[in-house]
């Protein structure tokens, strides 16, 4: 499991439509809108490559003026660790 977070920048007027699209995406969770123009999301995917692909899809939404990656955890053993813990 790779978990990432992004700040997505968009015009204030485009935020509702962007939020709608983001909420439909698998693995995406919208957490907060900051300063009316920055959407904070997390993304959960199995691999870095899948995460990159989703990031790329988001970056191409017409509402998005910019996508900034902030955090990514790609620890291969995550699933294994989860099992150990459960």
């Amino acid at each position: 499991m790779v978990i990432s977070s992004f700040i997505i920048e968009a015009n204030q007027a485009d935020i509702p439509s962007l939020e709608k699209k983001l909420r439909k995406m698998s693995g995406v969770e919208v957490h907060r809108i900051v300063e009316k123009t920055k959407v904070i999301i997390t993304l959960e995917k199995e691999t870095t490559d899948e995460s990159y692909r989703s990031g790329d899809v988001i970056s191409k939404f017409p509402e998005v003026s910019h996508l900034c990656l902030v955090y990514t955890n790609f620890e291969d053993e995550l699933t294994k660790l989860d099992k150990e813990m459960t």
Binding site: H31, L69, V70, T72, N73, E75, D76, M85
Partner: protein, 860 residues
């Protein structure tokens, strides 16, 4: 929370998400605690599980020149996570999407892990004909060949460095070459991207690097991008530009470009001009400002002088250009009056500029009016469109002219800002002086005082550096001489000349005679096999990015440390270790005065990075880096030196205008912008050079106190400039070195794409980046395609008089070229577009022009 149940599994993921959201909120400037975000996260935060790595280490992204800070999560000595560093003031916690693969680029399946020695010279040009070797054997072989070539002809050796070498690696390379071998044939690949910016700064301000910083992006009213596709090449800075636009409705962006790009998409105005005529556009704006008396008279009176320089320079096509009358006087400038300047610029009416540039007069006027408005704060940014230009220095001068005439410089929110393409083009290539004509801290080899100052810092006898008074081979000259058979030994590090040099056929030894490259002895230090390792006699496997400790210096004068986070694979080693090992062998038995040469340069008598007992580089990389830095720092801190002569000469040369802090302070502060000053025991950076004000607020208080004049107009004092006055230099429009004609009717422009870094040697090893842009392409206007019967996806041959390559045509790429214009990126080693490009260079900066030559297109 149920330990041992499903709830814990959710909790762990939630906790990871909590970390992810916390980082994002911090980067977005929001400090509310994440535990309030969701119930699950609250539970997670209260739990006993930890998803934190063993340690977060401080680092800097290793791609572009923005210099984004990152924190690298290390667990069991492996990199497991990366997040933006909110304490790095360059990016404030934000990264572009390439950040996903910062870790992954280190794990390509074909990393070079063992030294390779070529056994079969006839197989040069391929990765065949090598055998694996020990480091001992490889280093001995390199040292023997270097020594032999140097003894036979000192001019037959060369080192090609990089804006991707760390500051420490660049410093050691330069010291070995200049002081150890008394040789100036050392130059960086930054010659290919930043040299025109350097000579622009030096000719206008007599000091390299910008006066402003990224903070200006947050306050500007108008942005002007000149030949810069920031959206793809500097995405984090572009995001800052976009945020400024979103937060203030009046902010406008003008994109001046030869091809509509992603950057143009959000610009209010895009000015598409015929290649090379940016020279005319800038002069048109200048003339408009003068005609409308919109210049800042007080600013000009207090802060500017006018100059003119050698014109009708012709073009550096032939090997002997530098020795011709024009080539040898290209740098010359002389003072003129403002009235003379007005006369010179008078032909550049907006009508005339429209006629030659193709940009409608209305657009030109709208842009000129922005500069003419005294209340507007304007930031100009530029990169390769301006620098990779046969008049690159002139274009840099012209942008400064506009900002100087209007006084829009060195002020928060207003200033010309030269962006850099590589992570340490500034820190390493420019500041350390890994150029054939330079020494550290703006010093140059041709100035006797500069050499004397360097001799004193390096404990060398007086006059010892006199043999390096003449600049050595600049990059194009170096490779031309390699091709002529005059360079017998070449060592390249952190670059890929076999793919990125223009007119590549010649530099790969596949021109008519094949001389030099085939029979020369070539060493390539690399992390992956490349077009350059194919040409090598010895390949040295290098540690990359956080596999060793290092430091980069970015575009806004910020130096930042990256810590070592994991071991390099196999036998791969730190380039600095290899350099010092070769130095030890080459300098063996040599004396400088009464001293052992190696000890004086790198041992206890000098940099102190050698462990005599172990007969090896000191093992502690932090200690090595700190010792290198502290010696380098003496150049810009002469006042701290024990030698009074150093203090006196350093003050005369104003080297502390680039003052640096102690090494550990950079780790503590997550990078700092020079000049860095100690105020009441605290080290403070400078955001705006030459601007008087409190040092604590980012102004250049100490610099002005020491070298400038207080109370001048706008509280500025350009203390490094001749007579404290930067030069407004008249630079005319002169046409391109090669212009499309009947046989070669297209302009050919080359460049990069977002997904791939330079020649793709790292990013193409990442499957997803490779999948995103798997091959090069040739952007072509639909009308041109139709007239040649070319459809989307057809293979075409791009041909110039120098060479050709086959590539897939696209009519709907990200960029939209105008008619008669082709764009081909250079990242793909199978699409050697540089076979077709031109190696003519700016006569002043010696930087070649990759952005324009004549080509034709044939459907395959």
């Amino acid at each position: 929370m149920k330990v041992g149940g499903n709830e814990m599994k959710v909790t762990r993921r939630s906790l990871l998400k909590a970390s992810a959201v916390s980082a994002a909120l911090a980067a977005a400037g929001c400090s509310q605690p994440i535990v309030k975000e969701t119930e699950k996260m609250t539970a997670a935060a209260e739990g006993k599980v930890s998803v934190e790595p063993d340690e977060w280490k401080t680092a800097v992204c290793r791609y572009c020149g923005t210099g984004c800070g990152v924190l690298v999560g290390v667990k069991d000595e492996k990199v497991i996570s990366i997040k933006g560093d909110p304490d790095n003031r360059s990016n404030r916690g934000l990264n572009c999407i390439k950040g996903y693969y910062l870790g992954k680029v280190m794990f390509g399946h074909d990393r070079l892990t063992t030294p390779l020695i070529r056994e079969d010279n006839m197989k040069k040009g391929t990765m065949d004909g090598f055998r694996e070797a020990s480091w001992e054997e490889a280093l001995d072989l390199i040292a023997d060949n270097l020594k032999n070539a140097h003894e036979k002809d000192p001019q037959s050796i060369a080192f090609w460095g990089s804006g991707q070498q760390t500051i420490h690696e660049g410093y050691v390379s330069s010291k070995l070459w200049k002081a150890g071998l008394l040789n100036n044939n050392i130059d960086p690949n930054a010659r290919l991207c930043m040299a025109s910016a350097v000579t622009g700064f030096m000719s206008t301000f007599q000091s390299d690097e910008p006066m402003g910083c990224y903070d200006d992006l947050d306050e500007a009213d108008v942005f002007v991008t000149w030949g810069a596709n920031m959206a793809e090449m500097h995405p984090v800075l572009y995001s800052r530009l976009m945020f400024r636009k979103q937060s203030a409705n009046h902010v406008k962006h003008y994109d001046i470009t030869t091809r509509y790009s992603r950057t143009s998409e959000a610009a209010e105005e895009t000015l598409i001009f015929r290649p090379q005529t940016d020279l005319a556009i800038a002069n048109g704006i200048i003339r408009y400002i003068i005609e409308n008396k919109a210049y800042d008279e007080n600013f000009i009176s207090d802060h500017c002088q006018f100059r003119a320089g050698t014109e009708q320079l012709g073009h550096a096509m032939n090997d002997d250009y530098d020795e011709t009358e024009k080539g040898s006087t290209a740098n010359d400038v002389w003072n003129i009056s403002f009235d003379e300047f007005k006369e010179m610029v008078d032909p550049y009416t907006l009508e005339y500029v429209e006629e030659i540039s193709g940009v409608p007069k209305d657009q030109l006027e709208a842009l000129a009016k922005e500069f003419a408005d005294p209340d507007k704060k304007i930031v100009s940014t530029w990169t390769m469109g301006v620098n990779q230009h046969t008049r690159g220095t002139w274009m840099n001068n012209l942008i400064y002219n506009i900002h100087l005439l209007t006084g829009k410089i060195s002020k928060p929110g207003s200033g010309p800002f030269s962006l850099t393409g590589q992570p340490s083009a500034c820190g390493t290539a420019r500041e350390v002086g890994v150029f054939s004509h330079r020494l550290p801290a703006d010093l140059v080899v041709s100035n006797p005082d500069h050499r004397r100052f360097s001799e004193m810092i390096w404990n060398l006898p007086e006059g010892y550096l006199d043999p390096i008074s003449k600049p050595g081979y600049h990059t194009v000259k170096m490779f031309r001489e390699l091709g002529n058979g005059n360079v017998k030994f070449l060592w390249s590090m952190s670059n890929n000349w076999g793919q990125t040099m223009p007119k590549t056929n010649r530099f790969r030894g596949v021109d008519d005679n094949g001389k030099g490259v085939i029979d020369g002895f070539i060493v390539v230090s690399e992390v992956y096999p490349t077009r350059s390792t194919e040409m090598a006699n010895v390949v040295l496997p290098a540690a990359m990015w956080v596999e060793r400790e290092g430091m980069f210096g970015n575009a806004e004068r910020r130096n930042a440390i990256f810590e070592k986070c994991q071991e390099p694979p196999g036998e791969a080693k730190w380039d600095l270790w290899a350099l010092v090992q070769v130095a030890k062998r080459v300098l063996d038995g040599k004396k400088i005065g009464d001293h052992d040469a190696f000890d004086l340069l790198f041992g206890k008598g000098g940099t102190d990075i050698w462990d005599d007992e172990k007969n090896d580089l000191k093992q502690d990389q932090t200690e090595v880096c700190r010792n290198v830095w502290e010696e380098y720092r003496k150049f810009s801190s002469p006042h701290l030196h024990e030698n009074e002569e150093v203090k006196k000469l350093g003050k005369e040369l104003k080297t502390s205008a680039k003052q640096l802090a102690p090494y550990d302070e950079y780790l503590k502060q997550h990078g700092m912008r020079w000049p860095v000053r100690e105020v009441n025991g605290e080290w403070m950076e400078t955001k705006w050079r030459y601007a008087d004000g409190e040092q604590a607020d980012g102004f250049d208080q100490i610099g002005i106190d020491e070298f400038g004049e207080k109370g001048k107009y706008d509280n500025l004092s350009f203390y490094k400039s001749d007579d404290k006055k930067p030069s407004i230099i008249f630079r005319p429009f002169e046409d391109a070195a090669e212009i499309p004609n009947n046989d070669y009717p297209f302009w050919l422009c080359t460049g990069r794409v977002l997904e791939h870094w330079h020649s793709g040697s790292m990013t193409r090893r990442v499957p997803e980046l490779h999948r995103a842009v798997p091959e090069a392409f040739c952007e072509i206007h639909p009308d041109d395609a139709e007239s040649l019967g070319i459809s989307e996806g057809d293979m075409v041959k791009v041909k110039s008089v120098r060479g050709e390559t086959e590539v897939k045509a696209t009519l709907k790429g990200r960029g939209k070229p105008p008619k008669g214009y082709l764009f081909v990126p250079f990242f793909a080693e199978e699409t050697m577009i540089n076979n077709a490009t031109l190696d003519a260079y700016c006569p002043i900066s010696k930087q070649p022009d990759y952005k324009k030559c004549a080509a034709k297109l044939e459907k395959v």
